[in-house]
């Protein structure tokens, strides 16, 4: 199935999504990776506001290359999401609706995705030029000292994504290879 979704995302909009479905995402996506997640967690510990409204938000684990003159973004494929696992359940509990990245997540993240009716969406790993093509605007909104790891607000149109973890507990990294291997047995 293919779904067109626009941020902010509601649980109702995410509920029908299943691992392996395609999502074309439009609206606002915030970027954050290791260093930004560490700082966001420290903000929460101190009782401070996060750099962006977390309720219904989509976070993209990405550190783009510098933009060339006349381009709004450089190459912008996903980074390995597992490095953010330890920070993630807390953000999901606060209303984070979608994570965009690549690679397997911990059991704690999977459980939290189901509990909160959230999704984990896959961008194509190593396809920096392709993923950048759906970004229309970029603004650094926090921690410019972090360079490529600064928090950016991206406006995206029809960003092509694949559902990796769904609200019903589906996991494409389990079901995808299993379905392929099963197809070989049937031959």
């Amino acid at each position: 199935m293919e779904y067109r979704l626009t941020t902010p995302l509601t649980k109702e909009a995410l509920a029908p999504l299943r691992a392996g479905d395609t999502v074309l995402l439009s609206g606002i996506v915030y970027t954050a990776r290791d260093a930004a997640h560490k700082r966001m967690t420290e903000q929460l510990d101190r009782g401070e506001e996060l750099p962006f409204p977390i309720q219904g938000a989509a976070v993209y684990y990405v550190g783009p290359t510098p933009e060339r003159p006349g381009c709004c973004i450089g190459a912008a494929g996903p980074t390995t999401a597992g490095r953010m696992d330890s920070y993630t359940p807390r953000l999901l509990d606060l209303g984070l609706a979608a994570m965009i990245g690549k690679g397997a997540r911990s059991q704690a993240v999977k459980d939290s995705v189901v509990k909160n009716g959230a999704v984990y969406l896959g961008a194509l790993g190593g396809a920096g030029a392709l993923m950048a093509a759906s970004v229309e605007e970029l603004e650094i909104i926090a921690w410019p000292d972090l360079g490529c790891e600064a928090v950016r607000k991206l406006r995206v149109k029809d960003m092509p994504l694949t559902v990796l973890l769904d609200p019903a507990g589906g996991d494409l990294y389990q079901s995808g290879p299993a379905a392929y291997l099963e197809s070989l047995e049937k031959k």
Binding site: G20, A35, V62, G63, P64, T65, P66, E67, R68, C71, G74, A75, A76, G77, T79, T80, G82, K102, G103, A104, G122, L124, G125, G126, A127, G128, A129, L130, A132, A133, L146, G147, C148, T162, L172, Y173, S175, G176, P177, A178, A179, Y180, L181, S183, L184
Partner: protein, 279 residues
């Protein structure tokens, strides 16, 4: 004696950093094309097609193929008849600084592994130098991203583990890595030597074009067997399932101690980058 200046080296390294990050070597592109033609699983075939589209788009828009433009791993073959004017390593660092600035490449190096402040210019380069006969200086820049690098592993096996132990370790490394290193992967494998040499061998193996088998038929057969086993795991492109888990792999071997069997796997991805130039 042939004289080569610091400036000539910096210019060459800068050019190679940009070239490596925006256009893939022919062997990797051809392996991707062949994999797509032979891939039986529809989602995997479509995914490989998107990776090909990405290469085209990167070329058209002068964008890096992958946003992780890597640590600048630089391999130097220095002819013994070359007289260097200036400092070789400083010349390479300066080349990396220029290439990553002029090519709009991402600066991904922190100056200290624990205090983690970005150096801001992607230096230092990670330099390996070998003296060779002749009067030529050959430099290969092989930018290495962390998504795959972090999935690399090294083991000091027992001689009794033998080739079966080596195969089991390599397959286990691929299975543990799963979707993280952005499959389809490329593997550099080192066998033998010492703790430090085996890691170097694995890295060096990634410099060999993947369509060139090991010159020793025993190891060439082992490469083929491992490739088939890895492509039977079902991980597939991006870990979504399919045949194409690995585009190719290379083994480099060397003598070792009577009591040692070191093995190292340097994991790389479908964006295995290298560019070579000579002075």
């Amino acid at each position: 004696m042939k004289v080569i200046t610091q400036e000539e080296i910096s210019s060459l390294v800068a050019r190679l950093c940009i070239q490596a990050n925006t256009s893939l070597p022919a062997d990797i592109r051809e392996a991707l094309d062949k994999a797509r033609e032979e891939e039986p699983w529809p989602l995997a075939r479509a995914t490989l097609g998107l990776l090909q589209d990405n290469l085209t788009l990167a070329g058209e828009k002068c964008l890096p193929i992958c946003q992780d433009t890597g640590m600048a791993c630089v391999f130097v073959e220095l002819g013994q008849q070359v007289a260097l004017e200036g400092d070789l390593e400083e010349a390479i660092h300066e080349g990396v600084r220029r290439g990553y600035d002029q090519g709009y490449l991402r600066k991904s190096v922190v100056g200290d592994p624990l205090n983690r402040v970005n150096t801001g210019d992607n230096t230092p380069a990670f330099i390996t130098t070998h003296l060779v006969p002749g009067d030529t200086l050959t430099i290969t820049v092989a930018p290495k991203g962390a998504g795959s690098e972090n999935m690399s592993r090294l083991a000091m096996l027992k001689p009794a583990d033998g080739v079966e132990g080596v195969k089991a370790f390599i397959l286990d490394t691929v299975l543990k890595a799963g979707s993280n290193p952005c499959p389809p992967i490329v593997l550099g494998i080192g066998i033998g030597g010492s703790f430090d040499k085996v890691a170097y061998l694995a890295k060096k193996a990634l410099l060999r074009p993947i369509d060139q088998p090991n010159p020793d038929p025993y190891y060439a057969d082992l490469e083929q067997e491992l490739l088939e086993k890895i492509n039977a795991t079902g991980i597939g492109p991006q870990g979504f399932g399919g045949r194409t888990t690995c585009l190719g792999l290379a083994i480099e071997q060397m003598p070792t101690h009577v009591a040692c069997l070191p093995v190292a796997v340097n994991m790389s991805c479908h964006v295995t980058r290298r560019a070579t130039g000579s002075l």
